[in-house]
């Protein structure tokens, strides 16, 4: 069977799916895993930009599916991490060019030679979302600690169950520990309680994220980014390592900091 296929989805747009896919791909590559990242957001391709590979794309996902190129020709190899490849989304084509069974067939070809295949899902619950989750062994649902994002995450969790891809694991992105502490923002525990789903990562709001996307160097590539550390922790958990949730606050003792952020519970819900 080979690689594990992990789809990153959310329902709502702009919550951090592409950021997460780029960073987890690099983090897993840094851990020595053989990784393929696939951008399934056809028509709105941007995983290549966040990963800094936009200038090297000749063929894309739709070219592969429609037989205009061989699969290896559409796999862009990362310069720093030779064990990491990207398959870009088509920028101009119609979304229906790819079907869920195309995605299953594609990942079947990639599985033997790799350890992880990460799929960046488009927002919404339409065809693109179905394409992205069809081949998934594991689904990561990205959300923000906000009412609308959590609502969409809940919808996605319900759909994953219906598609037999559930229950999935949650990534809470853009959490601001200071606001959580003041009671101005939902905590990670609030969100996991409401969604009753397992959590695999908490990623803080981090000012280094946007500049790093600007320059095409995801935060996991540098050592001193908290968001980067959080993504690295998630990658480790994906490889089966038991990594404690990181402390996101500068005050109080370690236990209090974690307890405050996460309500004192572990990741089991």
């Amino acid at each position: 069977m080979g690689a594990k296929v992990i789809t990153i989805t959310s329902g709502k747009g702009g919550v951090g799916k592409t950021t997460t896919t780029a960073n987890l791909s690099i983090a897993l590559a840094r851990l020595g895993k053989r990784v393929v990242a696939i951008d399934a957001d056809i028509g709105l391709r941007n995983l290549d930009i966040v990963m800094g590979l936009e200038n090297r794309i000749v063929y894309d996902l739709v070219d592969v599916v429609e037989g205009r190129c061989r699969l290896p020709q559409a796999m862009i190899r990362h310069k720093q991490f030779p064990n990491l490849y990207l398959i870009a989304a088509a920028q101009t084509r119609d979304k229906t060019a790819v079907s869920p069974s195309d995605m299953v067939a594609l990942t079947r070809k990639l599985r033997p030679e790799h350890d992880f295949i990460l799929i960046d899902s488009p927002a919404g619950i339409e065809r693109g979302f179905r394409n992205a989750v069809a081949p998934a062994d594991e689904v990561l649902i990205v959300t923000n600690p906000e009412v609308s994002a959590v609502r969409d995450a809940d919808r996605i969790i319900g759909l994953l169950e219906a598609f037999n891809r559930g229950p999935g694991q949650l990534i809470i992105n853009r959490i601001k520990p200071e606001m959580v502490r003041r009671g101005e923002m939902l905590s990670a525990k609030d969100v996991t309680d409401i969604l009753s789903i397992r959590i695999i990562g908490i990623v803080p709001e981090d000012e280094t994220v946007i500049p790093s996307s600007n320059s095409g160097v995801p935060v996991t590539m540098s050592e001193n980014s908290r968001a980067g550390q959080a993504f690295m922790n998630i990658a480790r958990r994906l490889t089966g390592e038991n990594v404690p949730f990181m402390q996101l606050d500068a005050t109080g003792n370690l236990f209090q900091r974690i307890a405050r952020l996460f309500g004192g519970n572990n990741s089991e819900t």
């Binding site: 906000e146 009412v147 809940d154 919808r155 319900g158 939902l186 609030d190």
Partner: protein, 147 residues
């Protein structure tokens, strides 16, 4: 001065709690694909049907979705009836078909085998007709009877 921080804290808590409350409400409806407006309509219809057979103490009706988790939500309904007769009379009328009579201060919650409702209803009408005086009714409320 001390009130400032209290107020600030109170407001801040409110914002997160507000988010939680709103989410819980939204998700119950999302999970069963029944928007609040339709639930309200459904409640009205349920009460309408029941009112055809028994008069309902509308002020104390409580029909609500009970959120558990994604897969086990349920509708919990408490629909108290208006006092129609003394428990002994009801008992007699139903000839043992009344399964449960809970005597409260003002009203009774009576659960009846639905297949026997017509029969009981008829019997109760007869009983009522025999009475000279109507039971005291609140003049501020329109009297609710089974038409």
């Amino acid at each position: 001065m001390s009130g400032f921080f209290d107020r600030l804290r109170g407001r801040d808590r409110g914002s997160k709690n507000k988010a939680k409350e709103r989410l819980q409400f939204i998700l119950v409806h999302d999970r069963i694909s029944l928007p609040p407006e339709q639930l309200a309509q459904m409640k009205r219809e349920i009460l309408e049907v029941i009112s055809k057979y028994v008069s309902i103490d509308e002020e104390h009706v409580d029909i609500a979705l009970q959120p558990r988790d994604r897969t086990s939500n349920k509708l919990i309904a408490e629909i108290p009836f208006k006092r129609r007769a003394h428990p002994e009379e009801v008992d007699e009328a139903a000839q043992g078909e009344i399964l449960d009579v809970i005597d409260e201060d003002e009203e009774e919650t009576v659960r009846v085998d639905p297949s026997r409702i017509n029969e009981i209803e008829k019997q109760m009408d007869v009983d009522e007709g025999k009475q000279d005086e109507q039971p005291a009714q609140d003049p501020t409320k329109p009297s609710k009877t089974t038409d």
